[in-house]
Symmetry: C2
């Protein structure tokens, strides 16, 4: 089974996390993962962008360490790495989602 690469919690950087969160579409994804199901297929997100752009945004979030993605059959399911983010950058995610 294929797996997707994720940075470890100690590898998360403010540069990558802030860059990733600086995009409004990516913040929509994060906000929806924060209040919704723990584990959502990309297709469940109602985003104002094309599918390929959406796929790009999910990859940026994964590579920054903000979300975890895993294959589930032919789909990819995503979840927010809230515990890792809160451990590494306390208060940051809440401040961004409030903003």
């Amino acid at each position: 089974m294929r797996t997707l690469e994720h940075p470890g919690v100690e590898e998360l950087t403010l540069d990558a996390v802030l860059s990733a969160l600086a995009d409004p579409v990516r913040r929509i994804i994060v906000a929806q993962l924060d209040v919704g199901h723990e584990d959502q297929a990309c297709i469940a997100f109602d985003l104002p962008v094309s599918k390929s752009t959406s796929t790009h945004h999910f990859r940026v979030l994964r590579e920054a360490g903000i979300i975890r993605q895993r294959y589930a059959g032919t789909a990819i399911r995503s979840s927010l790495r809230r515990e890792d983010l809160d451990a590494r950058f306390p208060g940051l995610l809440d401040a961004v989602l409030r903003g």
Copy 2:
């Protein structure tokens, strides 16, 4: 006397603020303004970049609404817009500076 343009507090956006703070040199500037004098000349900052790159970083911070810049003779002095940032995005600056 020349003046420099600054966005109003209601014009601050998370996109611009997070993008600006995603750069490590810009976070050094912000951290130094946060703990140091309220109003510092650019030359007071010991930054690991050239003068022109440094000038660019200050402009990005000003245009994002993170710092205020004013002419003082031939120099430009900078100060952190902490109250504006805290009003608009509570907790964000502290979370970033802690990170």
